[in-house]
Amino acid sequence: MSYFGDIYRGIKTLLTGMSVTGKYFLHSRKGAITQQYPDNRDTLKMFDRFRGEVVMPHNENNEHRCTGCQKCELACPNGSIEIIWDRQIDPESGKKKKMIDQHIYHLGMCTMCGLCIEACPTDAILWAQNFENSVYNRAYLTKVLNKPGSKLMPGVEE
């Protein structure tokens, strides 16, 4: 008799499984979790802390907060930050001071660990929430974070 019992139980479990998928089939419109990605670009908002790429914010006078202390360069495990600096005469104080020439960021080598941003004492670099990082040429992934002709924001000290 267990032969027929097995068949009965087997069919019952199969129907139970089908009821689960069937339920979702009927509610498929509501339950769809797919994002219509390129269409919803306008409404798509990433979380504030999302690590997209490292950026260096500039204010309206084309000034940034990077003093060139190279702490980020040291903190980076992959060598994706390179800072080219020079000692120049500060026009305000007239003293020789460390100034960045280029803050180079290799996005292609970055693992988004966030250690550089933790290490930065002046909050010069931040995370941007941009995640569309693909480019046609690998060279484009090497970015210069400070804008051309930008200066250190006055009052930012190491």
Partner: protein
């Protein structure tokens, strides 16, 4: 005709087949060299090294803060727990006093990671035995956990949220509410997992009595995590060597004695319930306080050897650091659960069919970067 002449007349020929490195069932670049007689598996030889990145060697080059983010890339499904393991080792070596708040947050995040990992495993498990829909149901629920991670840690998979001394930044204000919402949501969905897959007669037939691993073998192969516990080997590090806030919570160590694929499957399903129970106990009373203790910018470990083990979603992860007192470890070794669990694949798959191999490999829950490192 007696059997010997039949045997010689119908002699079957064994042949080799390469399963992988590009194969849907190996979930990564694992190559299995199978010796097959018809459909019966005679021998399984795993061939590793396809994504070896020499993480352990890279660790010798990096500072202790930098090591943490490399562990994200080992077992990427329990990256938070991996981070925690390294941080705990360094903190123990430095004998830092970690705030209660950090411990509780780490525990909650660890359990969430375990849940996410098990959800993904469940989906993939179903897919490996042919039920493709489970994959999407598993991912649907995992997505909510990933949102929690993304909001608090900034990333969905490779979080790097722990640092030696605490957390990189405090939890997001929405964290508690989101976690609670997830728990209430998932409590209604987990029984559905059972109804869809666990109870299914085909699934039961595929899993029961397949890939049997005895307790003795589990111990001698160094099995840990749900694989060991499915064979009745009590090996939960959270229970036996509690770290972080695991000594503050009550939970059961799920043990099954059958040792077959179904037992390992059920251990994971029940572990999801336990994980939810742990989170529920902690989420309402996260103590106030600092989210990290200050460490030197350059951490130097005292001379000596340090070892710390934690329970990842796959089993016991051990971190061994041999320090000579400099800012880099002299030698760092990860005892990864996937590696020992893979080593018993040959033992449990021989004599089964190709379908059995796929099913029992899925219950081992292998993550190839964890094996190759």
């Amino acid at each position: 005709m007696d059997t010997t002449t039949i045997k010689s007349n119908f002699k079957s020929e064994e042949y080799f087949i390469n399963m992988g490195p590009q194969h849907p069932a190996t979930h990564g670049v694992l190559r299995l060299l199978l010796t097959i007689d018809g459909e019966i598996i005679k021998k399984v030889e795993p061939d590793l090294g396809y994504i070896h990145r020499s993480i352990e060697k890279m660790c010798e080059r990096d500072s202790y803060q930098q090591i943490v983010h490399l562990t994200d890339r080992m077992d990427y499904l329990s990256s938070h727990i991996n981070n925690e393991a390294v941080c705990l080792t360094v903190e123990n070596a430095l004998q830092l006093e970690i705030p209660e708040r950090v411990k509780v947050i780490r525990t909650i995040l660890g359990e969430l990671t375990r849940l996410a990992s098990h959800q993904l495993w469940w989906g993939v498990m179903g897919m490996d035995v042919g039920a493709l829909t489970t994959y999407f149901y598993g991912f649907r629920d995992r997505e909510l956990i990933n949102d929690i991670f993304e909001e608090t840690c900034g990333a969905r998979l490779t979080m790097n949220y722990n640092i030696p001394g605490g957390l990189m930044f405090d939890i997001h204000p929405n964290f508690v509410q989101r976690t609670k919402d997830f728990i209430t949501h998932f409590k209604t969905k987990l029984p559905e997992y059972d109804r869809l897959l666990t109870g299914n007669v085909i699934f039961q037939k595929r899993m029961k009595g397949v890939g049997i691993l005895s307790k003795e073998d589990a111990i001698s192969f160094g099995a840990s995590g749900p694989v060991g516990r499915g064979s009745g080997y009590s090996c939960d590090v959270r229970k036996h060597h509690p770290y972080s806030a695991y000594n503050q919570v009550t939970f059961n160590e799920v043990l099954k004695t059958e040792g077959d694929s179904l037992a390992r499957y059920q251990v994971r399903i029940e572990e999801m319930w336990e994980s939810m129970a742990i989170i529920e106990q902690l989420i309402d009373n996260i103590p106030e306080g600092e989210y990290k203790v200050a460490t030197n910018a350059v951490i130097k470990l005292p001379k000596g050897e340090f070892y710390q083990k934690v329970e990842t979603a796959r089993g016991e992860l051990g971190v061994y650091i041999n320090s000579t007192g400099t800012k880099n470890p002299y030698r760092l070794k990860f005892r990864s659960p996937g590696f020992s669990n893979l080593s018993l694949l040959n033992h449990i798959a021989v004599g089964g069919k190709i379908g059995d191999l796929v099913a029992s490999m899925a219950t081992l829950d292998l993550v190839i970067p964890d094996i190759d490192r």
